[in-house]
């Protein structure tokens, strides 16, 4: 078989409606913004190996590049040297590249076809904007790279954060990327069990756009509806996965529409009509309006997700909780995981452990780090 080119062919080689997978997810945040090593995260993920099949895992790390805090950090994956040459040329022509380097990898840990990973710390040249917002400019360039069919894919593009992901078990990916050498105040992680793809590096989670990232467990039965809604708004769903839907919906609702996190949670997993009907008028009005307007973004079907951005980590499940999510706290450290055992294995002595209800967001914010751009209202946990 000829190796398919482009995101669609790589991630969804059999051309199914979409990629289907199940997973383990984990998130850990120090609410005082103190930097943590990734060891615990990897250990917790390894504890949940049961839930994955070695065909993908990944990590998002926040507070990762303090030296380049003000630059967009582009993590880009290349099929080969030719793609690298093209991608570097493109980025050079679109951005002011402050620094770039190959992301160090120990290939002895990973499966054969590991791509080339490069990172670029870039500024946006204001002259290039032509009225577009700076963030929109970055998003558009990322889409251009991902849809170029040149064998180049942007893995993450936020400031002072980055995503490391690929095909392999959580431990293998951690070792491949030398994760023990990185520190961050917020980590999310994902282990994957895909059923209709042999696994592709770009298809592993987290999915990230600017500084927002998502790890996701589940399958959304409303995929067709969600996708059409996003397409109506002008988004392209190139990866053909549920996770991409979350990532794009978050970009739209959080970043572009400036909606508060709790409102977004109510869009993804709204209360039932009968509960909305029983609410006090103002709240009823709000929730009814949200469901009417954003019914196309109701994520219907089993899911649990952890989404993160600077200063914020949110866990959410579908409204009837068909996928697991556990929350826990130990002093300033906030945990979210698919399984309690994963949390206990890195922190046996917890102050609090709880099972959030279906559709109820668990929001962890960070005292020291202002939640980035435009979050109007954040419910404290």
């Amino acid at each position: 078989m000829k190796t398919p080119i482009g995101v669609k062919g790589r991630n969804n080689p059999y051309g199914d409606d979409k990629v289907i997978d199940a997973c383990s997810i984990f998130g850990m945040m120090d609410q005082q913004g103190r930097s943590m090593a990734g060891r615990d995260v990897v250990e917790a993920m390894t504890n949940m190996n049961e839930r994955t099949n070695g065909l993908g895992s990944g990590y998002a790390v926040y507070g990762l590049y303090p030296k380049h805090r003000d630059q967009y950090a582009l993590h880009v994956m290349y099929d080969d040297r030719k793609a690298l040459e093209w991608g570097s040329g493109f980025i050079d022509s679109e951005f002011k590249v402050i620094h770039d380097e190959e992301i160090p990898m120990d290939r002895s840990h990973c499966k054969a076809d590991a791509p080339i990973m490069w990172r670029y710390f870039v500024d946006v040249n204001p002259d290039r904007l032509n009225g577009t917002g700076e963030e929109d400019f970055v998003v558009q360039r990322c889409f251009s790279i991902n849809t170029s069919e040149k064998g180049a894919y942007v893995v993450s593009s936020g400031k002072d954060m980055g995503v490391f992901k690929g095909v392999g078990w959580p431990q293998e990916i951690a070792d491949t990327f030398h994760l023990d050498e990185y520190r961050g105040y917020l980590w999310t992680a994902h282990g994957r069990f895909p059923t209709n793809t042999p696994g592709w590096w770009g298809g592993a989670h987290p999915f990230s756009l600017l500084d927002q990232s998502v790890v996701h467990n589940g399958e959304i039965s409303s995929y067709g509806t969600n996708r059409r809604f996003l397409e109506m708004l002008g988004y392209q769903c190139t990866f053909q996965t549920d996770t991409e839907i979350f990532s794009l919906a978050l970009d739209y609702l959080l970043r572009r529409r400036h909606l508060p996190v709790e409102v977004v949670a109510n869009i993804f997993a709204p209360p039932l009509w009968k509960d909305i009907d029983a609410m006090p008028p103002q709240q009823r009005n709000l929730l009814r309006g949200l469901r009417m307007v954003y019914g196309g973004l109701l994520m219907n079907g089993p899911f649990s997700i952890i989404f993160a951005r600077h200063g914020l980590m949110v866990g959410l499940t579908d409204r009837i909780k068909l996928r697991p999510l556990i929350a826990a706290k130990k002093k300033d450290v906030f945990f979210l995981a698919s399984e309690e055992s994963a949390i206990r294995c890195v922190q046996a002595d917890l102050d609090r452990v709880w099972h959030p209800r279906g559709g109820e967001p668990v929001v962890a914010s960070c005292g020291n780090i202002p939640a980035s751009t435009n979050t109007v209202l954040v419910m404290s946990s």
């Binding site: 059923t195 039965s221 409303s222 509806t225 059409r228 039932l272 009968k274 709000l286 219907n300 068909l322």
Partner: protein, 503 residues
């Protein structure tokens, strides 16, 4: 002139069991039966039979059989029975052939070639008996931006500019006017609309005072005849529908013969008794899209922007472009009526040859509005050929917000789709204004039967949604991934936006 027309049906009475109670003589409104005093038996004139099954249903001894006649013309695939009969009828009468109900041709139904999905392993199906399952839908224009006014730390308010129709199940009764059906039928539908949390469209015949108490669940029509339209009328209902066209007869106006314009019809329609009620083919104030836009604005102004305006069009070749124009003209809801949609009376040649099936129309309209980024500005109602709960589910998966039904509701009341509505002699008391025959339709019983139908379909829709792993109908809308096609060409699949079974 001796008629050359052969009967369509063979009617037999089992003389052994018949008690000559004469029930069939009374039941048959087409005078098939007569009592023969001399022989003390029932005589049969099968030429008049329309196969409505009324007599069979009510014969206390089960003595009657109505079957297609064994008498056939010489077999000929081209000159088939229908073609020959139509010519014979026209040779004898010299007029346009009328018919009732929707197109009965086999080749225009795509619903039967669509199959639904169900969850297995990777996502769980949902049991509607144990888990909540939501069918509520709001119809109307949705803004692309919501205004959240933050009040410090507390909840925020949201304002929707456009009025919405709240339906508890995505099934609405489409237009059946007073005149085409009688008040008993209208009242039964109005009551069901109230009890089932949906709406009944009273059609273009004006609003009879007997329906006033159901007004919150009525859609009122403004059609080309403008019958019964005045300020109070516009204020009365929950929504107003501008009727541009109808699936059964696109491009054709309506004609209610003077005989059907009784005292009551005349009062409701605001026309003299006994005069023909003519609905012209086009609205004489709408010759282009900007004229429609003006009429929408006028109605909105007149009703203080308090209720959604629906524009109903027949599904025709360029529906997608027309629908896009209607959105931009300011409609809140577009109702699209497919070519299999029914009517009280239409020229047969129009009914069977003009328009396109609803499946294709709804798919292409939804896709176009989506591509143009304006799908949220309008809700879509699909009608014309919805026969079952699975048709509803498929229509919504193709892109509709809700469905219009009419024939199905009439069948629930008794209609057997004999297609003779235009004669005014409906043996089931539905499409007749005859005060005596109308009494056959008891509004209490009819309402109960239709209510049962809506309940049954709603339950079935919930089962199908649950099977797909979806617990709210808004997650089905335009979810074409839940559909696969069988026996369709590549191009048909492409227009429907679905894949082949097995792929």
């Amino acid at each position: 002139m001796k008629s050359h027309l052969l009967p369509d049906y063979k009617v037999t009475i089992d003389r052994e069991t018949c008690t000559v109670c004469r029930g069939c003589v009374i039941q048959c409104t087409f005078n098939v039966y007569s009592f023969n005093k001399e022989k003390n038996r029932i005589d049969i004139d099968a030429n008049k039979c329309v196969d409505c099954q009324r007599c069979i249903t009510f014969c206390p001894e089960n003595s009657i059989t109505v079957a297609p006649t064994p008498i056939q013309y010489k077999q000929n695939a081209s000159w088939d029975r229908e073609n020959i009969r139509n010519i014979v009828k026209q040779a004898e009468a010299g007029g346009i052939l009328l018919t009732g109900m929707g197109c009965d041709k086999p080749d225009f139904t795509f619903f039967d070639r669509l199959l639904l999905n169900a969850s297995q392993v990777t996502n769980p199906s949902i049991d509607p008996i144990r888990e909540p399952m939501e069918l509520r839908t709001y119809l109307g224009s949705k803004p692309s931006l919501v205004n959240l006014t933050s009040t410090g730390e507390s909840w925020t308010d949201i304002s929707l500019a456009s009025p919405q129709l709240q339906v508890e199940t995505p099934i609405i009764f489409s237009a059946m006017s007073f005149g085409s059906v009688n008040l008993n039928v209208q009242e039964a539908l109005a009551r069901t609309a109230v009890s089932s949390g949906t709406y009944f469209n009273v059609g273009e015949g004006g609003l009879n005072p007997r329906l006033n108490k159901y007004a919150d669940h009525l859609v009122l029509q403004v059609a080309s005849g403008r019958f019964g339209v005045h300020k109070k009328y516009l204020d009365a209902g929950a929504a107003i529908e501008i009727k541009i066209g109808q699936g059964a007869k696109p491009g054709i106006g309506g004609h209610l013969p003077g005989e059907k314009v009784t005292e009551e019809v005349s009062a409701t329609r605001m026309i003299p008794k006994g005069t023909d009620a003519i609905s012209p083919a086009p609205h004489h104030d709408i010759y282009s899209i900007e004229d429609l836009s003006q009429l929408i604005s006028v109605i909105k102004e007149a009703t203080d922007y308090s209720k959604p305006v629906i524009v109903k069009i027949a599904a025709v070749h360029n529906s997608a472009a027309i629908a896009s124009g209607i959105v931009r003209a300011g409609a809140d809801i577009i109702a699209i009526d497919g070519m299999r949609g029914s009517t009280g009376a239409a020229p047969q040649v129009i009914r069977d040859n003009v328009g396109i099936p609803i499946e294709m129309a709804i798919a292409s309209v939804d896709s176009r509005l989506n591509q143009e980024g304006i799908r949220n500005r309008v809700s879509l109602i699909a009608g014309g050929g919805i026969r079952s709960s699975s048709d509803v589910v498929k229509a919504i998966a193709l892109g509709a917000d809700a469905c219009y039904i009419a024939t199905a509701a009439l069948i629930a009341m008794g209609c057997t789709v004999c297609q003779k509505c235009y004669t005014g002699k409906c043996p089931w008391g539905i499409t007749t204004m005859d005060p005596v025959i109308s009494r056959r339709l008891n509004p209490d019983i009819a309402a109960k039967r239709v209510e049962n139908l809506i309940r049954a379909w709603s339950l079935e829709i919930k089962e199908m949604l649950g099977g797909m792993g979806i617990n709210s109908v808004e997650s089905l809308r335009g979810n074409r991934h839940q559909l696969r096609g069988v026996g369709l060409t590549e191009r048909e699949l492409e227009i429907l936006g679905i894949r082949m079974v097995g792929s």
